[in-house]
Amino acid sequence: MAAILSVRGVTKKFGELVAVDDVSFEVDEGEIYGIAGPNGAGKTSLFNLITGIPYHTDAGVVTYRGEKISQLSPHKIYELGIARTFQKETAFDTLTVRENARIGAVFGTALAVEEYDSAVDQALESLDLLDDRNRLAGELSIYGKKRLMIASAIVSNPDLLMLDEPAGGLNLAELNELESLILRLSHGKMTIIIIEHVLPLLFGVSNRVMVMDFGKRLAEGAPESLARDDTVIEAYLGERGKDAFHAISD
């Protein structure tokens, strides 16, 4: 399988702090690539410098389908077919749910004008938001906003979807819905990178997982092999966390 995204030696510094430290990895076409790591590991910063929002990488290169994108403007990166969500639930609060999703369809996409409405409805439908379409996005619950953010990301049918902790704060039923949505999108040939603290979800959907800590890439591998790798688990969760992890994953 060819790599759709290739990240080579990217680095992001905030003064003394190295938030992302010389990280390299490749994501294959069609795969679900997971990223795990404790708070402050640099996962979101890595997303930021790949998408150019709000900053680019200080060093190294990001290539997408062979094209260098590391210094491209963010809206151009979206135009190439890379759509991300944010860790914090984020919406255009004064626009309606439908208008929120429409924003994802109109600018820099391959959709024709007459396709906007059906693409929007389809995206809202798949996130169970169709009934809320005329409500203001600001009125939605946290889970609602998170779903809407995914809807606006998938409305243009991007080739690469980047989800930053989509499961944060969800209950069990919502988690299951999210998991099946991710698998459905993946079967529709979307490549997905997902940052997640909820490990059962992450390990359940991902083909491969990278573990980060202190800005560095700590390990990468299939979920089963990582789950057995106690050094990784321990570095990530600490001694007690390791036991807890085995308790849930067994």
């Binding site: 984020t90 004064t94 924003i103």
Partner: protein, 338 residues
């Protein structure tokens, strides 16, 4: 009542326009007509300001300069070069548009208070430039002898109706233009950038281009209005760049309701009456024991503060709120939002 208004929007708009057309036929008071014309010109400027200030959320304090540049461009071209005002006015709009692009380029990347400072500085720069060339611009006294509008032998200032209908048409065109703009996908993108810049950019919205367009599109009608203003008053005065006019126009946007367009149009006319009638009524200054100008200025400031405190959504925002409540239905497509 309000649901009735809602059900008959189109019919009411037609009735409103008919009533408007009849005003100069029934009103015989020169001052009232004069103020209506002035008010409609200010309404054009204020409602266009709402595009940058309200929809784009950009504190553009060079907006009045677009109006001033329109006035001076048409004034100078007609006085010094003797061209027709009908050509001078569109030239004023072009000059305003060019100025808007120049000021928007540095302003686009800045945020909040810095945008306000930069744009205000730009507008003061234009003023200084005008004052520094008294031979061309008339300096502190302003450019006098600006020719009035004329079609053949028909002189606009000798007619009670001509300016009224001309400016009314300008306001109508400007309002239709703005409403179409803000309900389009372009308008959507401005609101998205205002609501959450990073998220909007992450959905492919080119920030610099959209903001530049917002400045540009908000400058054209004020540029035209500036030219008409100069030929209507037969003078182009540096007062256009003054603080008191800026505050008056700002009050029209804020009291009318930001990001509504209709609000500043409506309150633009109303505030002009209120403020001008206050300036011309002697009793106000007797009560407060100060000269008239400052009282008017204070009054406008108090209105702004009260609005921001008690109904920040403005008059049009209130109307919308009540109409939404009385309908108790979902907002329809293309409905405006605050």
């Amino acid at each position: 009542m309000i649901s009735f208004i809602h059900a008959n929007k189109k019919a009411l708009a037609v009735v409103g326009i008919v009533v408007f057309l009849a005003i100069p036929l029934v009103v015989d008071n020169k001052l009232l007509i004069h103020l209506a014309i002035l008010g409609m010109l200010y309404a054009v400027v204020a409602s266009n300001w709402d595009l940058t200030l309200g929809y784009a959320g950009v504190f553009n304090f060079a907006h009045l300069a677009f109006f001033g540049i329109g006035a001076y461009t048409s004034g100078i071209l007609t006085v010094k070069l003797g061209i027709s005002p009908w050509l001078g006015i569109p030239c004023g709009a072009v000059a305003a548009a060019i100025a808007s692009v120049i000021v928007s380029i540095p302003a686009i990347r800045l945020r909040g208070i810095y945008v306000a400072l930069l744009t205000f500085a730009c507008s003061q720069l234009v003023l200084l430039l005008l004052l520094s060339q008294p031979l061309i611009t008339g300096g502190q006294q302003g450019l006098t002898g600006v020719p009035q509008l004329q079609i053949g032998d028909f002189r606009f200032r000798e007619s009670k109706f001509a300016h009224f209908y001309l400016v009314g048409l300008l306001l109508l065109c400007s309002t239709v233009f703005l409403r179409r703009l803000v309900t389009s996908d372009f308008g959507l993108s401005l609101i998205a950038l205002r609501d959450f810049e990073e998220y909007a950019i992450a959905r492919g919205i080119p920030l610099a281009r959209q903001r530049l367009l917002a400045f540009l599109l908000s400058s054209i009608f004020p540029g035209l209005a500036g030219g008409v203003y100069a030929h209507f008053l037969i003078v182009a005065s540096p007062d256009i760049f003054g603080f008191s006019l800026a505050i008056l126009l700002l009050s029209m946007v804020l009291v009318g309701g930001v990001a509504t367009i209709y609000g500043p149009v409506l309150i633009g006319v109303v505030m002009t009456y209120v403020s001008e009638l206050m300036a011309s009524s002697a009793w106000m200054s007797e009560i407060f024991g100060v000269s008239r100008g400052p009282v008017r200025f204070m009054f406008v400031a108090v209105i702004i503060v009260l609005t921001m405190r008690f109904f920040p959504q403005g008059v049009w925002g209130l109307i919308k709120q009540y109409s939404a409540r009385s309908r108790m239905t979902e907002p329809a497509e293309g409905e405006d939002r605050v």
